[in-house]
């Protein structure tokens, strides 16, 4: 029930993000969602793509440091309070959210939140028991 996120280490210098996107484009990889965290010196680019394996290979080939990270993709109603309901399910079980980011799916009714949580299995059961819908890796790729 988890999805694979591709995480890329990026130095804060001009042109690096463009090189990532070009490497992915040449490999025919489609980016579904991304988030960038940064410090003064460097950043971490987190990507949800249709084909994680190919993406990692292409980025490695272009000289980037890349890891695959297990994340949870949750569908939530695209309306006020939608995210709050999902986050509550996790905080009630005292599960620590390392980070999250969200994007709106193509159908536009529901949004998708990507959660990075250390205790993946506990998070999955908390979400499922709370009635949240978790997207499988295939479903996520097919969006």
């Amino acid at each position: 029930m988890t999805a694979i996120q591709i995480s890329v280490f990026l130095e804060n210098k001009s042109g690096r993000l463009s090189e990532v996107t070009h490497a992915l484009a040449e490999a025919g990889v489609n980016v579904r969602a991304l988030s960038l965290a940064e410090t003064i010196d460097y950043g971490v680019l987190r990507l949800i793509v249709d084909r994680p394996g190919e993406a990692k290979e292409a980025l490695n080939g272009a000289g980037f440091t890349v890891t695959e990270t297990e994340v949870i993709a949750v569908e939530m109603p695209d309306r006020p309070g939608g995210l709050a309901g999902i986050v509550d399910l996790l905080t009630q079980r005292e599960l620590n959210i390392e980070y999250l980011y969200a994007f709106v799916g193509q159908r536009g009714e529901n949004a998708i939140v990507i959660f990075r949580i250390d205790d993946v299995s506990a998070a999955i059961s908390a979400l499922q028991e709370g009635g949240a819908r978790i997207l499988s890796a295939d479903e996520l790729s097919a969006i």
């Binding site: 996120q5 995480s7 280490f9 990026l10 130095e11 690096r16 965290a37 410090t39 010196d41 460097y42 971490v44 987190r46 000289g63 980037f64 440091t65 890349v66 890891t67 990270t69 390392e98 980070y99 990075r116």
Partner: protein, 440 residues
């Protein structure tokens, strides 16, 4: 002649060259005999080189003696080269070594007196006298700078203010309130004191500060001008290394054109670092010293790895002891950052301990305008150390920083960089980028 030249030991510093050579010859014979009799390691070394003490008749024979290197000190760590029993040792200092082990040096009571003598000459050459207030901002401790300058200043009879390093605002306050006339510290710290003083509204032109003795770090003529205009005082270079005695091996006089070597105690040679052969007079090469009077740790032809040359022409001050040009570089990869000796291999060891493999890294040394030397350690992030969580990356760089600090005693900045972003040269990677203007 030159009666007005400020000077501590006129007899030695203005000695006729022939007389000085005779003194050096006598002392060389004695020191060779001493190490042969008292230091088994040296006896072996001399035997291996096929040299007997009686073969050394004058200073001209010095080239027959084997060299001593930092390796020798390491092999005999900590006290193996001491020529006297421990009861005779009254002081021990240490500096950081190449692979975690420090270079340990010892002094007898007589050595401490010699050191005070050569530092008194150093300070007196810049006009320091009784009645001066000398603020000593070299670090006190295992580093030889603090106590070296302290004893020299006390020998002269100045009033010593042992501020040691750091707490710059307090340094400035003392400088101003006490009316410090003589300052001792590293050249980069002198600039910091000037800068902080100005921020505090101090006008150095109004202060009685007259002269500063700046060493333990390479610096350039440009930096001298900066310090002099910043502090409104003469800036003089001093040179030394703990293996030989500490500060006071050589010193500048007010002519500011090269450093007079206390060659009645430390005999200088300049050699080709590749062949070990002497280079023609006035040519640059590696500076080598033989201690002529040391008791605890006498060293024969110690290779400093510092690049300099001996200036044979007489100095305008009238001193006859020869001068060396200020040190312009190293024959090895050692860096001197804020008085701390840093070998890239030490940093490499720390990184290996953290990653269990040798990561790629580059050391960037920079001297900010009007600031201290800074060392930045750039480390490539590997798949192993990379994490999608920023907090883990920050923990990684903090850990590298704190382990380097506890190993070297030096605070560095750490920057994580992408793999292969660091320049590779053919074969050995270029590990050090020195952006300091040392005016070589």
């Amino acid at each position: 002649m030159h009666e007005s030249t400020p000077c501590w030991n006129r007899e030695i510093e203005f000695m006729a060259p022939d007389q000085l050579r005779a003194l050096q010859s006598d002392r060389l014979r004695e020191v060779v005999k001493l190490v042969y009799e008292k230091v088994p390691y040296y006896r072996q070394k001399l035997d291996d080189a096929g040299v007997r003490p009686q073969d050394i008749k004058s200073i001209e024979d010095i080239g027959r003696l084997p060299f001593t290197t930092k390796e020798d000190l390491r092999e005999t760590y900590p006290f193996g080269l001491f020529a006297v029993p421990m009861e005779e040792i009254v002081r021990i200092h240490a500096s950081s070594g190449t692979t975690g082990k420090s270079t340990v040096v010892g002094y007898t009571k007589h050595d401490v007196e010699t050191w005070a003598e050569v530092m008194a000459r150093t300070l007196a050459a810049g006009g320091t006298h009784r009645g001066d207030l000398l603020q000593n901002s070299y670090g006190y401790g295992l580093f030889t700078g603090g106590l070296g300058a302290h004893y020299g200043a006390e020998r002269i009879g100045t009033s010593v203010i042992p501020t040691s390093g750091g707490q710059t605002k307090r340094q400035v306050q003392i400088l101003q309130d006490f009316g410090t006339t003589v300052l001792c510290c590293t050249p980069s710290y002198a600039l910091v004191i000037g800068e902080v003083g100005r921020e505090m509204g101090v006008n150095f032109a109004d202060l009685p500060l007259r002269v500063g003795f700046f060493g333990a770090e390479p610096w350039s003529p440009t930096m001298r001008q900066e310090i002099e205009s910043s502090l409104h005082a003469h800036a003089l270079d001093i040179y030394g290394l703990s293996e030989i005695i500490g500060p006071g091996v050589s010193f500048e006089c007010l002519e500011k054109s090269g450093l007079h070597i206390n060659e009645d105690h430390f005999y200088p040679e300049i050699i080709d670092p590749e062949t070990g052969e002497p280079v023609p007079e006035s040519q640059p090469g590696e500076l080598v010293f033989t201690t002529l009077t040391k008791e605890a740790l006498p060293l024969l032809r110690y290779r400093t790895r510092d690049i300099s040359h001996v200036i044979a022409e007489p100095c305008g001050c009238g001193r006859t002891i020869r001068r060396m040009r200020r040190v312009t570089g190293r024959t090895d990869d050692m860096l001197i950052i804020r008085g701390v000796n840093v070998f890239p291999s030490q940093i490499e060891e720390v990184l290996m301990g953290i990653e269990e493999t040798t990561p790629n890294y580059v050391l960037v040394v920079d001297r900010k305008p009007r600031g201290m030397d800074e060392l930045e350690v750039q480390v490539e992030v590997s798949e192993k150390t990379f994490s999608d969580e920023m907090s883990r990356l920050e923990v990684l760089s903090e850990r590298i920083q704190s382990e380097i600090e506890s190993t070297l005693g030096l605070r560095v900045s750490v920057r994580l960089v992408e793999p292969k972003s660091l320049a590779r040269s053919m074969g050995k990677a270029k590990r050090v980028i020195d952006r300091r203007d040392l005016g070589t």
